[in-house]
């Protein structure tokens, strides 16, 4: 059975954003009436009524893809890519602005855990309430009641008001009800972000059951492991558009991670103007360069000397000023920090007021092949962040290829995040003759007698 169950073509969703200082959040009838009255009198003039700049924001633009019956599709993308909006449109909660969606099955969506739960009602009452809201009939709920309670592990607390539940119990109960829905299409939005690891495993297991019964599942998550193990198809959204639709899940996930970490970073960052404003040190430039200071092209070899150059203006000298970088690998894990004040005090670079440039050699033959991200680190020691890794715009990407080692036994990429070339030498073993002579096979008895 592989007919198409969901067809999305040219889907777009537009929101209007107001740009005016004192504009209230809620529209008041008074404003609307006043505006209309003003319009009436000002029709002759060409001026606009109020200086309302309204911007059109396309949360989704030109999204098209197909889902076949029985598919488990993962929808991935950065925050703000439009994933939740897409799910809202597919769940019929909001209407598309352009385009078309064709659904051939009943949809049940879980966009938030515990929707419809009323804190004053008991667990038992809330199961019925939530089940009914999600679309189950009362007979269905009664039939599955015991299963739901067992899944949620809240038998003891069924008759206490839900407002007294711990957050874990709440989430378990909420998911238990939703997990026993039996729709043809199940849409799940990042609900696994809450709950402990055991709960997440349980939920994934349950969703796998649902999927193996031939139902279609659309699953949004930031947990790449879950996507990898669970989904057979991936839709990658970026800034409201479809970036990639593919059946090769590991490749699509890897693509997403590189886009996530790269995002068109070059190897030369210049301060666009007002970034990282602070009274002490204004970073101007971060780049990877060679001995002479010229920016290098990626990829670089591991056995050639390169330096991380940082240029900036010191406006207010401070003894606590530290400048350096943080190195992240492909997956976003932090490898190390290094700052100008790491060595002994007399070796720290002297900084004058005004323009300064410092550099640090990138450790040769330490990092493994692959892509890395270098983020500017600048701070006043223990006082104030100037450029904090993880949330700074000053970042460059580097990628290392080749030059790992001259050894003929090191041709392909080996596992490990770092790949130092360590030297090995033969030495006198601590308690015996050197084993350089291979004929001399000492009986263990003799060695022990020493």
């Amino acid at each position: 059975m592989s007919d198409t169950i969901i067809t999305v073509s040219g889907l777009g969703k537009k929101y209007r954003i107001q740009h005016q200082g004192e504009k209230q959040r809620y529209t008041a009838l008074r404003d609307v009436i006043a505006e209309k009255a003003e319009n009436l009198f000002r029709r002759r003039k060409a001026e606009t009524t109020k200086c309302n700049t309204v911007e059109d924001f396309w949360a989704l633009k030109d999204v098209s893809f197909e889902v076949k019956r029985g598919d488990v599709v993962g929808i991935i993308g950065r925050n703000g890519a439009g994933k939740s909006t897409l799910l809202k449109v597919l769940s019929r909660i909001t209407e598309p602005t352009t385009g078309r969606v064709h659904l051939k099955g009943r949809v049940a969506s879980l966009l938030e855990v515990g929707t419809g739960f009323h804190p004053e009602l008991t667990g038992r009452e809330n199961i019925f309430l939530n089940g009914a809201i999600l679309g189950m009939s009362r007979a269905e709920i009664r039939q599955k009641f015991d299963e739901i309670v067992v899944f949620a592990e809240v038998e003891k607390f069924l008759d206490t008001p839900v407002k007294r539940y711990s957050s874990g119990m709440y989430v378990r109960l909420a998911f238990a009800v939703a997990a026993h829905l039996e729709p043809e299409i199940l849409i799940v939005d990042e609900v696994l972000a809450v709950g402990d690891a055991q709960f997440q495993k349980k939920c994934l297991g349950k969703m796998q059951d649902v999927a193996s019964n031939g139902r279609t599942v659309l699953f949004v998550s930031h947990n790449m492991n879950a996507i990898d193990s669970f989904c057979r198809r991936v839709v990658h959204l970026d800034k409201g558009r479809v970036c990639n639709v593919s059946d090769d899940v590991p490749q699509a996930v890897a693509n997403y991670m590189t886009v996530e970490t790269d995002s068109s970073q070059g190897c030369d960052w210049r301060n666009p103007g007002q970034a990282l404003n602070n009274p002490w040190f204004e970073p101007q430039r971060l780049y990877l360069g060679d001995e002479g200071g010229a920016v290098v092209q990626m990829p670089i070899r591991n056995d050639e000397p390169f330096f991380v150059y940082i240029e900036g203006n010191v406006e207010q000298p401070d003894n606590a000023l530290q400048i350096g970088y943080a190195l992240y690998d492909e997956g976003g894990s932090l490898l190390y920090w290094t700052v100008s004040t790491d060595t002994a005090e007399d070796e720290w670079p002297r900084l004058n007021i005004g323009r300064n440039a410092i550099r640090s050699p990138l450790p040769m033959r330490l990092l493994n092949q692959g892509s890395y991200r270098l983020e500017l680190l600048a701070a006043l020691y223990h006082r104030q962040w100037i450029s904090c890794p993880g949330s700074t715009p000053a970042a460059i990407g580097i990628s290392i290829q080749g030059g790992m080692s001259v050894s003929p036994y090191w041709m392909e990429k080996r596992p490990g995040q770092i790949a130092p070339v360590c030297t090995w030498k033969a030495i006198t073993p601590p308690n015996g003759n050197p084993i350089a002579n291979s004929h001399a096979k000492e009986p263990t008895g003799t060695a022990n007698r020493r």
Partner: protein
Amino acid sequence: MDLILEPGRTEKNYWRDLWRYRELFIILAWRDVTVRYKQTVIGVAWAVLRPLLTTIVFTMVFSKIAKMPAPEGVPYALLVMAANLPWQFFATAMSEASNSLIGNANLISKIYFPRLIVPVGSVITSFVDFLITLGLMALLMGWYQFAPDLRLLALPLFMLLAFGASFGIGLWLCALNVEYRDFRYIVPFIVQFGFFLSPVGYSSARVPEIWRWHGFDIPARLLYSLNPMVGVIDGFRWCLLRGNLGAPNAAQTSAQAGIWWPGILTSVILTSILCATGIWYFRKMERTFADVI
């Protein structure tokens, strides 16, 4: 099941969906009623105490203190109660319906179901209170040993009219309230104002049919009947109190004391228009609710 989602496409499946989600009407009403009495000591007794106390106070104020003239043969308390019954239903139904969408904003933005269920659910909740008060009315009539006649059979029709009036106005208000939050403040005002514009504390027979004002013949009673509750309250009194609308000296002004059919007709027409246009407006605005709420 085949569904196409497109901008501006009116959903033909909507009414089928409403039927499929029919249990949700009851469940939402059940939720509201249950929650109301959780953690209260007196519990459900409040549902009876409230109308009882209101009736006692009204009777005291209007007959003993304000000394509104009472008709013969009908105890004042019954007169007031018969009018208070539909009025309370209307007032609570309208207020709760107008806030219902906003109060359930978390549901509206996260789950799909036909949104019409929400205001109807709140009207049903008020209806439950109405039924309890009706029981109280029956008890009261027993106490005064005042038995109704065959006109009682018309009561369900007037109940339907009351339901329609509160539904129609409630629907307009709740759809408007989502976009223009002013209505949160307008509604209590309408309720208070409407209380005096409706014949709760007095009889509608006191409003003259034609009123001479500065040389103009104003059809006062017709204009008065534009308030749909006038027809409803008149009808309730007529059904429950043996055709007596509560005008004093019924024998003398018999022509005016009976039920005034033009008024009832106006109420019916107005209520139908309100319901139809209410549903139209609600459906039109429904697709923007999740974005605006």
